[in-house]
Every structure is written in structure tokens, then in C-alpha cells.
């Protein structure tokens, strides 16, 4: 089966530092891959390269087997319609209401009428269990958890083939975080999409992932089924999972 999304040998240098040094990942439809790793190891950069927000120095980004890095911008933009992204801070547009945020792609990229877009936005709000009475408020009036729900609704409204998630639980209390994790699992199942999430929260990784990959020093150092994470046989993974300061990975404080 071809991978929905595949990154091959992605290298990226930022401010003189080799952040990614040949990253290879792939994820198939209906599978959920979680990339774990410490702060600053390049998890976000990996995701940004996959989404086309950053241009890798070398390497390929294949979507359904086609290399998007070689496509002209307008073709790539069409391919990127298969992607949905949930940002760490929500990244909701402050100047628009919640429903306009959720329906943004429909209104401004797909030319759907406002009435229909609103209807679909409210329907998607119900899916992520965000009460429809919040449709007309500004995102700033929502709690952190509700902002994540709205961000997720915005990411899934066009039924993406690939859902990318950046630190789904950062800044949330454990109960809300768990609810968001459940929601992501549920949405991936319902949409049948491929999911790539990045996190340093092991509880979240265990819940969301079918497969876990660990990024360290610009490379994937381990990859395996989520269930095998506790018996990975990799000292770095063991240290990360156990959350120990001592081990092969030096904590940068």
C-alpha cells in the first residue's frame, strides 16, 4: 500500500544548525503516527516541511507517491487541500468568529456560500463537541480546550486525507488533554485519514498512536508499534519514556 504521506531524507539547516539530518517517515491511510522527541529536536520543522510551510534543503515529500517539493505552487496548493492541521496554540484568527474560523477554507478557498459554510461549521462543531452557541463568539473568549476543539474542527471540516497535529495537549489540564486525545483518535477513525502528530507528552502519544517514531539529533532513531514503546530496546527511547535526566540524551537546560 502506498503511503499517504512520506518524507524521504529530509534535511534542513536553520541559523547554521543542522536541525533535520535525513528524516524518513511515512504514514498510510487510517494509521496514526506520533513523532516524539525533546524540545528543539526538530519535530515542528519536520511537520512544517511536510506541510510546505518550510522548504527542506534536500529530500522528498511524497503525497500519494507524488513529490510535492517539485510541483509548481498552484499545483502544490491543490494537493495541500488534502491536509488538515491542528496548531499547538490553535492559531485561530482573532478577527473572525468561531464559525468563520472553522469554515475558513470553505468560504475563502472553496467558494462555498456563507449560509452553507455556517451550517457545515456548526455541524463540525457538534462533532468535536463544541456547543453551537459558541459559533458567533470570537476565539479569544474560548477556553484553551475549546480553542483546541475549534482548531480541530477547522482542520477536519473538509475531510482531509492527512491530519497533522502539533502538540495536541500542551497547555491543557490532564482531563481536557485526555478528552482532546480521545477526540483526535475518534476523528481519525471516522475520517479514515492518515494522522501525523508530534508531541513530547507520552500519555498523549500512547493514546493517539498506532506507531511511534522518536526523533533525535535530526534523525528518526527508533520506530515501532505504540504497544512496543516500553520494550523498544533503545536506550534513548527508554530514557525519554521514563523521563530521566540521566542517559544517552543530554538534557539542555
Amino acid at each position: 500500500m502506498t503511503a499517504k504521506l512520506q518524507l524521504v531524507g529530509i534535511r534542513k539547516k536553520l541559523r547554521g544548525r543542522q536541525v533535520l539530518d535525513g528524516v524518513d517517515i511515512d504514514v498510510a491511510a487510517r494509521r496514526s503516527l506520533v513523532i516524539i522527541g525533546g524540545s528543539g529536536v526538530g519535530k515542528s520543522v519536520t511537520l512544517k516541511c511536510a506541510l510546505g510551510l518550510m522548504k527542506p534543503d534536500s529530500g522528498k515529500v511524497l503525497v500519494d507517491g507524488a513529490d510535492v517539493t517539485k510541483m509548481p505552487p498552484e499545483v502544490r496548493q491543490r494537493v495541500m487541500r488534502k491536509f488538515g492541521m491542528l496548531f499547538q496554540g490553535g492559531a485561530l484568527f482573532d478577527s473572525l468568529t468561531v464559525w468563520e474560523n472553522i469554515a475558513f477554507r470553505l468560504i475563502y478557498a472553496d467558494g462555498v456560500s456563507r449560509a452553507e459554510a455556517r451550517e457545515r461549521a456548526v455541524e463540525t462543531m457538534r462533532k468535536v463537541r463544541l456547543a453551537p452557541e459558541f459559533a458567533d463568539v470570537r476565539p479569544i473568549e474560548l477556553s484553551g480546550g475549546m480553542q483546541k476543539r475549534a482548531g480541530l474542527a477547522r482542520a477536519i471540516i473538509s475531510k482531509p486525507d492527512v491530519l497533522c497535529v502539533d502538540e495536541p495537549t500542551t497547555g491543557l489540564d490532564p482531563i481536557t488533554a485526555d478528552a482532546i486525545n480521545d477526540l483526535i483518535v475518534e476523528m481519525v477513525k471516522e475520517l479514515g485519514c492518515a494522522a501525523v502528530s508530534i508531541t513530547h507528552d507520552m500519555a498523549s502519544a500512547r493514546k493517539i498512536a498506532d506507531e511511534i517514531a522518536m526523533l533525535y539529533a535530526g534523525k528518526i532513531v527508533w520506530r515501532g508499534p505504540a504497544a512496543a514503546i516500553d520494550n523498544s530496546g533503545n536506550a534513548m527511547v527508554d530514557q525519554f519514556v521514563a523521563g530521566r535526566a540521566e542517559g544517552p540524551i543530554q538534557a539542555v537546560v
Binding site: 506541510l51 487541500r81 492559531a91 475558513f104 477554507r105 472553496d110
Partner: protein, 256 residues
């Protein structure tokens, strides 16, 4: 450290910045004049940039017109030329002070506002989010602002021209014993269409500068609140410098 190397690095950095800014404004201008145009965003920016700037532009114009009348009266009295107050007020306001002062006021109000808003959107990943939602941030954020500023600043300047002349008129009639009807007749008989046109051309160019410098600074800001804090004054300084330089160039071009 080699001083020549330091100077060279600074010059190269400046040239690179000029190049980046030119590419940015080129792309902004191209998206302004190609579909799709987000009409709602454009209308919102016209209100934000044009309508809500009316008070500051109006207040500036009325007081500058009034002060100009007083100064010309005092200066003119030195060689018995007091009667030229209306002529010089209208010339000064339409050709120079109307567009330049409106431009400078908007460089403060609008450039900084655009830089802060787009800068905040950049550091909170809203611009990245827009890209992932298949919408070009240039088209949605920058083109409506650039277009709105380019089109509304001439209207603001036209209003400033009228209010500025009125400021001069009020002072001339109330404190300098001019006859109201004569003052207005002298104003309109002396003024030529090209005076106003020069001012409006300047205004359109200044509008373009104000919005594109603000957008550029915001779009390229990074590093959280600190980055946004740097973008806003950077936009004001850049816009003011460019407006003054371009003002001279346009004036020189028209005079020739």
C-alpha cells in the same frame, strides 16, 4: 575586527533587505490586481485605514492651514504681500502639506497597526494556518490593506485639502481682517488642477508605501512579543523615511 569587513557586511545586509522588500512589494502589487479579490476584507480595510483616519487627518489639516495663514501673513507683511495669504495657503496645502502630513499621520497610525496585527498573526502561527487552509496570506491579508491604503489616502488628502484651506480661511477672516468672499475667490482663481492632482498622486504612492512597509515588517517578524514590538516602530520609521524621500522625487519630477 576588520573595519572594511564590518562596513561590507552592513552594506550587503542593507542591499539584501532592499531586495527582499522589493520582491515583497512586487508580489503584493501583483496580488492586488489579479483575482480573486476578497471584497469583504478590502471594505473592512477601507473603513479601518480610510474612514477611521479622518479625525486625525482633519485635525492636523485644520491647524496646519491656520498656522500657515498666520505665518504667511507675518512673512508677507515684511514686503507688503499680505494679500497673498489665500494663494500660498492653497498652494502649500494641496501640493505639499496635505499629502505629506496625512502620509506621516497614517505612517504612525496605520503602518504600526498593520505591522502589529500581521506580526501577531505571524508569531501565533495564524499566517501558517491560513496557508494550510489553501488561502494565500498575500491575497487575504496584504493585498486588501495595500489596495485600501492606496485608494483611500487620496480621498483623505482631498478632505485634508478642503479642511486645511478652511483652517486658513477661518484665521484669515476672524483674526487677520480678510474679507471672506475675496479670500475664497482668490483661493479658487489661483489654484490650478495640477496642484491638486500632484497632491493626490503623492497620496496614492504614500498609501502604497504605508501599507506595504507595515505588512512587510509584520510578515517577517519573529520572536514573539519582542518581534512584534520591533516590527511596529520599524514600520513607522521605514514608512516615514520612504515617504519623505519619495515626496521629494515626485515633486522634482512634476516641477520639471
Amino acid at each position: 575586527m576588520n573595519p572594511f569587513a564590518a562596513i561590507g557586511r552592513a552594506v550587503l545586509a542593507m542591499l539584501a533587505e532592499v531586495g527582499r522588500f522589493s520582491a515583497f512589494t512586487g508580489r503584493a502589487a501583483a496580488t492586488c490586481f489579479s483575482p480573486p479579490v476578497f471584497v469583504g476584507q478590502f471594505a473592512r480595510q477601507c473603513a479601518q485605514i480610510g474612514y477611521f483616519s479622518l479625525p486625525v487627518v482633519g485635525v492636523t489639516a485644520v491647524f496646519i492651514g491656520a498656522a500657515l495663514a498666520l505665518n504667511i501673513y507675518v512673512g508677507g507683511a515684511r514686503f507688503n504681500a499680505e494679500q497673498f495669504v489665500p494663494n500660498i495657503v492653497v498652494l502649500g496645502i494641496t501640493r505639499e502639506l496635505g499629502p505629506v502630513l496625512a502620509g506621516l499621520m497614517l505612517a504612525g497610525r496605520v503602518s504600526a497597526g498593520i505591522a502589529a496585527e500581521i506580526g501577531t498573526m505571524r508569531v501565533t502561527e495564524q499566517i501558517d494556518a491560513m496557508t494550510t487552509l489553501s488561502t494565500d496570506p498575500f491575497r487575504f491579508l496584504i493585498a486588501p490593506r495595500v489596495l485600501a491604503a492606496t485608494l483611500t489616502l487620496p480621498i483623505l488628502v482631498l478632505v485634508a485639502d478642503i479642511i486645511g484651506v478652511m483652517g486658513g480661511y477661518l484665521v484669515a477672516v476672524n483674526s487677520l481682517d480678510f474679507n471672506g468672499a475675496t479670500y475664497l475667490r482668490n483661493t479658487f482663481e489661483f489654484m490650478e488642477p495640477q496642484d491638486v492632482i500632484l497632491g493626490l498622486v503623492k497620496a496614492a504612492v504614500f498609501g502604497f508605501i504605508i501599507a506595504s512597509v507595515g505588512s512587510y515588517q509584520g510578515y517577517h517578524s519573529n520572536g514573539g512579543a519582542l518581534g512584534v514590538g520591533r516590527a511596529a516602530p520599524g514600520a513607522v520609521g521605514g514608512a516615514i523615511g520612504l515617504i519623505l524621500a519619495v515626496n521629494y522625487l515626485i515633486t522634482a519630477f512634476f516641477v520639471e
